[in-house]
Subunit: 252 residues, 4 copies
């Protein structure tokens, strides 16, 4: 089929890469043309005639990979971390010289998580109280989760912009830690429980009502619908897009 | 204070009206100038110098009330039901002749409920599966709730527009009713439980993840923040607005 | 009807007392024969022929009230706080001399809350991980709630007795407070949200599964079924019972 | 170590058997001495000196396996289905002649699920309203789940015994199926959602309060703690025990 996407997966032997190979093979409208692991030459991507690349490698490799793809007119969906301001600036320059190529760099491909964060940020300005509970497996080393911290920051920003006051709290005496961590005025509570994977609840309250957004990530398969959405959209969005929410139709 | 809203409440002796009188009296930036019950003359509204009216009366009275207000240049926030297509058309004509007056007609003033419905409709297109559970006190005579039916219709519409397929369901044998009611292809389940007021969960699922929106309405105080938001916004939105979501900043 | 309970409510003008008067009047099989407020003479109880007393007064009055009732052969259901070890010992002595009289002293009459605590304590020994989230209105001055602390202590005790190890937790770096308060090794998180009343979740986790108990107290009416259960049971349980769970059929 | 359990797993190549082999190998205080698949001789069990057998085979094989073990003085933990009344009677006779041998036959080894059902049955008698929501993956062919039907039956039985009336329900008009399936007077709602595995909520309500039990089964690892508990307990419980709850300390 002429319009089928020809996809090369970079980092194909890692956990995420393996899942991406599997997802691309099963998806309609796309064909897996190359699967590269550590040590494989990037030439394989062009030799295979790839129109799209999924980069799920490591911070040390991702910039070289993406520049190579852009120079060859290949659209990129990137899940690797490590894209700091300097790297993003160099990528923007590279894209300016290849202005029909699209690149999506997304720190999170779980659609539900991305949507929940976006909605929580919007809704937080309309409620007196706002708190976050995040729940993860007990092997996690940091608390709160990075997603919870970012969600709290987004919520705090929209509340500040709208002139929403601080969440009311009459607590006078507490056991140390009971009221959670304070992230820009939003209280964040971290639960660690065997059996769980990654879950988050945003709780918003006003007189007589509560609005709750909950996202459950049960396994890493949750990232693949977002990767496929990225692959299907990236060619129609030349230039750099940062964050999967840029591809979602969320105007209300 | 020159810019203070001068508010008249119509239907001030009903349950909602009583709550509105109380809310307006306590709110910053507005003053209660009149509170009318059944039999009171509408002239009281103009005599009191009202700039805004809240109409919480009955279907038989609301059209007369709103026309009177519009003719006198008074902005209206309307929670009364009964505004069918004919009435809305006559009101549009009336407003065309008074084009600096704003009217908000809202079937639901609970901010959380309005937001949850809007978000659910947007998000439903991105998930394989979508169902609704609504939970109410056991004195409710209809099932599902009107809010649940409307939410399901909105979700079904965005799924159809985006080309999302039907929710997968391999059920071959079931006890009658187990899989709920079918509203445009969305399954809706109605729980009736002593102790509850009005609650709704929208459940969205894809491989490895779930996104849930839950709204709890604990008491009728939940409507007042929406009424106050309407009062503060209506003067800046001349013409007719239908639904509180028209006043919410939901662009994402 | 000969077997009808004749109930006197003490503290009848307080918030709880008013609710109790209402509940007794509506309940089948019992009759309200007296409702005493501050300053009323206890003689009214005996003059009215009460067989049962509900004491919802204040710590300074409750001991005198209960001793008066016991001396007069009247069964007591007591919701007033302030019963320390000395008072309990004096009451035991008084009951030893009136051995057909029953007294129930209960710190909590919400059946759901009492059941949830009892079940949580039992179940906690069978799971690797155990945490508590309690959620209350934002006017509450202490965190965690007394109920959450007691529940955690009960859970910790059954875990210790069964030899269950500590909940696993690999947290190495955290924002201060993120992991909640530590109550005997059980992490407790306190949410304060406008719109809420009093709610508690006990979360238990093991590989591949989670068990959650949630109790919601929406208003003070939640105490009345427990008061009525107490009144119906107390005559058949001579002597002192401490805690409503003593009247519940929980053997499994 | 003299007291170590010597465990043989029957059906060791099936999905559950594979997990059991893994769990026994990792567990403290027990040693895997044999792992039999289809076609292996039962003699391997005695030759390996097994003190305990885990049977996870098929209905056609399980009776022969268990009789062989009992005759050889080996305790049995059985997860295979197919034990009808006739088989149970024959096993009781066999055990009467080998009265120091213990056998546990359990239809469900997930501790959380067993506990939730037991607690729900107990608690249901104390609340006006009781309903069940069960949520599963969309490949499930029957609705409601067998667990939900059994839980509803147990709840209905304790409510009937306690004289609890039917759950109040004023529904006059409903979309077909909205109020769920009726199992002995308990309404049961079946959600089917991509991403889910097996989940159940029991909702109990009375004036002003709600008590909810939720069990989540995320993967089949959830059965192994129950199998290990069975192995550790079975030798101290001679004769036949039906249901894992018989081994749980649930007296309250």
């Amino acid at each position: 089929m002429a319009d089928e996407l020809k996809v090369a997966v970079l980092g194909a032997r890692g956990r995420m890469g393996t899942a991406a190979v599997d997802a691309v093979e099963k998806a309609e409208g796309m064909e897996l043309v190359a699967a590269l692991g550590r040590g494989d030459s990037l030439e394989k991507v062009t030799e295979a005639g790839a129109t799209h690349v999924v980069d799920l490698t490591i911070p040390d490799a991702t910039e070289t990979n993406v520049h190579f793809a852009v120079e060859n007119g290949i659209h990129c969906v990137v899940g690797t971390t490590g894209w700091d301001a300097d790297r993003l600036q160099r990528l923007e320059q590279k894209l300016a010289a290849n202005d029909d190529v699209g690149v999506l760099i997304a720190p999170n491909f779980a659609l539900g998580s991305v949507l929940a964060s976006a909605f929580a940020a919007k809704a937080a300005q309309y409620f007196e109280s706002a708190e976050i509970i995040e729940l993860h497996h007990p092997n996690k080393v940091d608390a709160p989760s990075g997603t919870a911290v970012r969600t709290a920051q987004l919520m705090a920003a929209t509340r500040a912009e709208a002139g929403t006051g601080p969440s009311p709290d009459a607590t006078e005496k507490q056991l140390d830690g009971a009221r959670g961590a304070d992230v820009d005025g939003i209280r964040v509570h971290s639960v660690r429980l065997r059996g769980l994977v990654a879950h988050q609840e945003v709780l918003l309250g006003s007189p007589g009502e509560q609005l709750t957004f909950r996202h459950d990530s049960f396994d890493h398969g949750s990232f693949m619908p977002g990767v496929l959405l990225g692959l299907r959209t990236v060619a129609s969005r030349p230039g750099l897009t940062h964050g999967l929410d840029g591809y979602l139709d969320l105007g209300l």
